[in-house]
Structures are given as structure tokens and as C-alpha cells.
Subunit: 158 residues, 2 copies
DNA sequence: GACGAATAGTTCCAGATGGAAATATAGCGG
DNA sequence: CCGCTATATTTCCATCTGGAACTATTCGTC
């Protein structure tokens, strides 16, 4: 599909459209940053977890019984390897996860949720989901969500 | 307007919709984080500026002749006051901005772009806009942008 | 005018970040 | 089985971040 402006629009119009698209990008950015700051504050205040820690717990929950290796966590949570080490350190100190060396390949570390970790994830999810619904889901109609998903699909392409 | 699900949808459907909305939120998040990381890398590599520094230069450019005070910069760039001090320090060391005490109220600092700063902003904008168009504008049709703006307007409300 | 409260900005501090170097382990070719 | 290379993770380092404490200046009240 041709996503460019309709032929025949003059250069001035084309330029205005480019600027308007960039402005939309900025609004999206500001909305996300504000929301993330607030969600992070909420989670810290009510559950003593930051957003990275919660995200790692969530990925581990989704991964199920076998947990994840450090590298898998880093990739899924968009973290540098070194940051991942430290986040898992903190979670381990708090008793929410355990590290276990893979017997077959002792270079690898398998990270597993503890019972406390599972409980903490559930309790944090309640707060976090509430925050997302307040700022996001509850403001959008089903049609808005359909449109937004279509837009996202185009943005994620290739 | 009622943004909730249509009446009559059963609890299972309602739950699936809630989960789907949260998933959309996550996709949006991942897209933004990836894009920002890449845009930041590009700007550093090609212009030696990070995204915060560029953003401050952009706000100063938009503000025009009189520049901005530190607090105004912090508010617009979503920066803590202390972070703002340091970003402006770096820009000042690079000769891109100047600090001037307000004669009327010597508590306030007015930050002004230098000629070098204006040039740097323009040169950085070329790179940054190109990056945004590659990842965002060029992938969306005019209709997509209209829909996205409508969604954003709802999200920004109150 | 002096004094306490308010405001703008900077400095200090504790903690987080990513990338480079270091460490530990595995796999491969001879 | 030895050395070489590749891979997974951690440690180190230079730098960034926000919030609290601090400094400088102004304002309001008496």
C-alpha cells in the first residue's frame, strides 16, 4: 500500500503533513513518558518494586515452570546484559527468584520464580493493571483499540 | 461517551478484552523503547548529541529569541531540575547555549541558544526527523495518522 | 528596613545504566 | 587431550538519574 500523501498535494501541504506527523510522534512520546513515570511511582510506593523488576517477574511468570535464562530475560525486557544481572540480583536478594546453573551447560543460569516471587508478581500486577486501565484502557472504545492495533501492526512491520 | 464494552458481553469476553488492551499497551511500549534507543544511538553517532540534549535544543529553538528559564526547560523536557542543570551544563560547555541571569530577578537564569547551538539543532534535526520518518511517518497512511491522533486526544484528556 | 517564608537554581548523594573487560564453561579440529 | 574460538554471565567503570539538602535572591509583613 502507498502510504505517501495523495498525488497533487502541493509542497506546502506535504510539508505541513510531515510536521504534523512528527508532532503526533512527540505527543505519543510525552504520553508514554508521563505514564511510565507515574506507573513506576505507583508500583514503588505500593509494592516496593520498580518497573524493570516487575517486568522481569512478569516475563518469568509467562515463561512458566522452567523459568528463563539470563539472556532470554535481557532480550525480552530490553535490558543490557549487565543491567539484567543487577535486576536479578535485587530480586534474588528479596527472595523473589532463584538462580540455578544448568547442569548440561554450566555457563547458563536458569532463573526461577520462588513462591514469594509468584505472589509478588500477582500482587504487583493488580496495581500495575489498575494503573494501565486508568490511563489507557478505560479511555479508549473498542474501535479505538482496533485502530490503534492496526497502527501498531504497521509500525512493527519488518 | 461510554467507552466500556457493549452490554451483554459475557464475563469471559470482557476479561479477554481487558487482557487484549493491556497487550496493546505493551506493544506500544516496546515499539517506543526500541525506537528511542535507536534514535538516541543515531543522534550520538552522527551528531554527538544525546536525545535529552537535542530535546532541550529543540525547545529553545521553538521558544525563540528570549530562550527559556531553567524551570521551563525542565517542565517541557520532562526533566528533574537537577538533570536540567547538568544537561544545560553540557550544552554550555559545548558552546551551544549561554546562561544569563535575569536582571529583574537574579534568582532566575535565562538560557539562550548561541549561533552554534542553532546550527547544531538544525543539523541534529535532519538526522532525527529522518529517523522518525523511517520508523513512524513513512509507515502510516494519512488515515492511520488521523486515527492515532484521535486515540491520543482521548488518552491526553484531563 | 529586618526577618521569615517562598522561589529558582545548583550541589550532593545513593543508586541505576550500558558497554568493555574479565571470568567461566563448552565445543571443535588435529 | 590441547589449544583456540565461541558463548553466557558477571564485574568494572564512567556516566547518568532523581530527590534532598543547600545557596542565593526576592517578597510580604510588621
Amino acid at each position: 500500500m502507498d502510504t505517501r500523501s495523495a498525488p497533487g498535494s502541493d509542497p506546502t501541504t506535504r510539508r505541513a503533513e510531515r510536521v504534523a506527523a512528527i508532532d503526533t510522534w512527540r505527543r505519543l512520546l510525552v504520553f508514554q513518558r508521563r505514564s511510565m513515570n507515574e506507573l513506576d511511582d505507583e508500583l514503588r510506593a505500593e509494592r516496593g518494586l520498580d518497573l524493570e523488576e516487575y517486568d522481569v517477574l512478569l516475563h518469568l511468570t509467562e515463561a512458566g515452570r522452567d523459568g528463563l535464562r539470563m539472556g532470554e530475560i535481557a532480550d525480552r525486557a530490553l535490558l543490557a546484559r549487565s543491567s539484567c544481572t543487577r535486576v536479578v540480583d535485587r530480586l534474588e536478594r528479596g527472595g523473589l527468584v532463584e538462580r540455578a546453573h544448568e547442569p548440561q551447560d554450566r555457563r547458563m543460569v536458569r532463573v526461577l520464580l520462588t513462591a514469594d516471587g509468584r505472589a509478588a508478581q500477582r500482587r504487583a500486577a493488580a496495581v500495575h493493571v489498575r494503573g494501565i486501565e486508568r490511563r489507557f484502557s478505560s479511555r479508549l472504545s473498542p474501535e479505538d483499540l482496533v485502530d490503534l492495533r492496526r497502527v501498531l501492526t504497521r509500525l512493527e512491520e519488518s
